[in-house]
């Protein structure tokens, strides 16, 4: 069985759920690791990870901003400090700026939390070149109904088509805020099949690609090329 990872989970300083609870449930569901990526602008205090779970829970940050200049400043601030750098996507300007920057690891929910944003073929090509993983946020599917969900599924289907074409890294994440938002890997695969992702693709997006993102696999390649 492959090692499954969920790289977009929000816990204690942002929500009221302690990291230990997330760890307990994720472990029970069969994950090998989760990443706590709290939004940088809502952080009240720093999360404390007990050493016993530090091999399972990875630290990350999700940058949420509206202007490109502020995004660049924040990337500079957090780069190297945390192992995982995610950007809160949604608007087209932010998506573009995040995908063009090779320091960013993940562009979280590029089609927004309610399906308002879009990705173009040019942007996905940048993602493949810079090794920025495009995230498919399944929480949006779980928490919406009817026309909202139809719009989100349509956007995700379009993104998936582009990701396949340009071979950009894609990951599936739960974007969980409570323990009840977490889903087991096989449920995630079943949910991913709703927007046309095949089973082996979904397994890849839950195991090998997140593992590569954590190891900065695609980044090293580009660095070697530059030298």
């Amino acid at each position: 069985m492959p090692n499954f990872f969920d790289l977009n989970v929000h816990a204690y300083p942002e929500t009221d759920v302690p990291v230990e609870d997330m760890y307990r449930i994720a472990k029970r569901y069969g994950y090998t690791g989760i990443a706590i990526t709290n939004h940088d602008d809502t952080e009240k205090g720093k999360e404390i990870l007990p050493p016993s779970i530090s091999t399972f829970v990875f630290r990350g940050v999700e940058i949420r901003t509206k202007s490109v200049s502020e995004l660049k400043r924040k990337i500079k601030l957090h780069y190297g400090e945390v192992p995982l750098l995610a950007v809160h996507g949604g608007s087209e300007v932010i998506n573009e700026a995040a995908l063009k920057d090779s320091r960013v690891d993940i562009l979280a929910h590029p089609c927004g939390e309610k399906g308002e944003g879009e990705l173009s073929h040019v942007l996905v090509r940048y993602a493949a070149k810079n090794g920025v993983a495009i995230d498919f946020n399944l929480n949006a599917i779980i928490h919406s109904r009817r026309s909202d969900r139809a719009r989100i599924l349509w956007k995700m289907r379009e993104n998936l088509k582009l990701v396949r074409k340009y071979k950009a890294p894609a990951i599936i994440s739960s974007n969980a805020r409570f323990i009840y938002d977490l889903r087991a890997p096989r449920e995630m695969i079943a949910l991913a099949s709703l927007f046309g992702m095949k089973k082996d693709e979904a397994i890849h997006a839950l195991s090998a690609i997140p593992e590569g993102v954590l190891e900065h696999k695609w980044k090293k390649k580009t660095e070697v090329e530059i030298i």
């Binding site: 779980i142 009817r146 009840y180 938002d181 889903r183 087991a184 449920e187 995630m188 079943a190 099949s193």
Partner: protein, 135 residues
């Protein structure tokens, strides 16, 4: 002597019922194939069986529509409130669809819940055995 007669009569009746039972049931070749999903629920409060069934139906109808729901033929066999596990029957070729519909459930009457399919079995007996083993 009386007792013996009773016994004979009882067994005779049993035999007749046995024949009738099989005559009225669909022959095995015409029965639809099923799968039994053993699922577990984590929730904020105790969830009633009826509430849960309503939510599962609602989720399947909103995700696949009336036609899809009729094809998946779901039936909640059993749900244990205390242990938070249950058995759901569905068509044998719609397991992944039902799994996705279960994963889409996020709340029951404003109490947050999360559902997960633990195992899939081919018979009720197998499913109950799985529950006994896991709990």
């Amino acid at each position: 002597m009386k007792n013996a007669k009773c016994k004979v009569q009882k067994s005779k009746y049993q035999f007749v019922f046995y024949i009738l039972h099989f005559a009225l049931l669909l022959p095995p070749s015409l029965r639809e194939r099923k799968r039994y999903l053993v699922f577990e629920v984590i929730s904020e409060r105790e969830i009633d069986k009826r509430e849960l069934l309503e939510e599962i139906r609602d989720s399947i109808y909103s995700l696949y529509g009336d036609v899809g729901a009729s094809e998946s033929r779901i039936w909640l066999i059993d749900y244990d409130k205390k242990k938070d596990v249950g058995i759901l029957r569905c068509a044998h070729n719609k397991v992944e669809e039902v799994r996705a519909a279960l994963a889409c459930i996020h709340s029951v009457n404003e109490a947050r819940i999360g559902m997960r399919v633990i195992k899939i079995a081919g018979t009720i007996k197998g499913a109950t055995r799985l529950i006994e083993k896991s709990v």
